[in-house]
Symmetry: C2
Amino acid sequence: MSKKTIRLLMPQWQGGDNPNYSFGAELLAWLAPDHDQPLIKVPVQAYDGTPLVNENGMHGRTQLLEQLEAAEHIIQAHKPDRIVMFGGDCLVEQAPFAYLNERYGGELGLIWIDAHSDLVRYVGYDNGHTLPLGNLLGEGDPEFARHVKVPLKPENVFMAGLTAPTEQETEVIHRLGIKTVGTEELSNSTEVIKEWIRKSGIKHLAIHLDLDVLDPTKFRSLLFANPDKPYDLSPAGTMPIPQLLHLIKELSEETEVVGLGITEHMPWDAINLKHLLGEIPILNT
Amino acid sequence: MSKKTIRLLMPQWQGGDNPNYSFGAELLAWLAPDHDQPLIKVPVQAYDGTPLVNENGMHGRTQLLEQLEAAEHIIQAHKPDRIVMFGGDCLVEQAPFAYLNERYGGELGLIWIDAHSDLVRYVGYDNGHTLPLGNLLGEGDPEFARHVKVPLKPENVFMAGLTAPTEQETEVIHRLGIKTVGTEELSNSTEVIKEWIRKSGIKHLAIHLDLDVLDPTKFRSLLFANPDKPYDLSPAGTMPIPQLLHLIKELSEETEVVGLGITEHMPWDAINLKHLLGEIPILNT
């Protein structure tokens, strides 16, 4: 029987406290190839001009928890074999990956393609999108981690493209024994990841793709590449798109990919152009 | 009676000999605000991998003429009062602006917001998109100019944002007496254009907007801002988006805008991301 795959569109912005993530999600879903996979929208409270409240160290905590539950309900309504998630800030991946780990007996493999670990809070930056991997491992934020019925095994997680981790991130990575490989090493060979898949017997793999793993001087639709602010390139990614595609293809050949999340798309030009078009009189009268 | 406005989507790429213009047109139309203006697609021969033939100094001349005629037929089928054209290379504007000049008794005003004059051929660059304004003035390429039943009056044309014209362009501009104003001067005041509108008695105005008038370090969805090639910034535009919007709003208050063409959109990030998504196995199986 063929696998049942659903696509979720979750234009969540509260996890990064930036409404532009919502439009990034919509454009991402529009760019995806046509397919008979159903596209289901997860309800998200749209930005209405009201600033998010910092609730116990997280902006928009209540909304984020409500939206997490909405995603969980939609997934339970469909009970798919495979899930593609279009975000939105990267906290959108918690619901699908937690479901897939349960669905595959707690043995889900997860490759975290990202310039950031998403394991811990950063002091002075109270946004939920720094925590999805922490939550999935049963750490992170207790109110979110509680939603993960079967936490992923740290030995089933591999981080690719991590750039300049903080001391605190490095501590967690070492304590949990999470494997990592940098973009430069991967540019020579993906063997280290394929060997991990074989040795660990990973039969089902989820791929987290935070677009900020890409080099923002080549792919400019990222938070770090805001044309109206000087580039803040640290700690930005360095991966070229062809290398990313090669990696995803290699993973897909090595094992069965059952989950894919694509997040943190911030298409500045399209945002600015849409705003321009929205203000031109002949297009609106 | 309210004005009848149509939107045309013409994903023509042959005029710039670059298939990316087609996708740029599609994305542009998708970004436009929802409205009850009908969106009509002008048939264009999609790129199928066959290189264009250089026919008498123009790549794809036959296709470009066929597509010009298709646009003319669609406009004649609707006989609108106002036309919005989403390109595509900027040759797409010939049909709507020639029609509007006839529709308004040969007295159409035209503001040419562009880093380039689009008046003449450049030696060694045999692409039709260097000629639309020339054609509309009865100069340009004879096979195209012949389609313009009532050529525009040069005194009814104003160029805004022209950057580094060649000697040949300068000659034509002086010979025809076309007014020009640079981006820097416009940043202080749009009065020179508004005065022209008042003094010339322009009752109906068309706006040509070639996106390459914009500063490509701020708006990167332009031919000149290819992330895989070193920037070739000459002669690129320098206008910021807020200034462009201000100009369009001022024009729209000063007189009746009956035509708008937006062209030369080349959204590199979206093109590269769409290609990536099109190759990811889980999205295609």
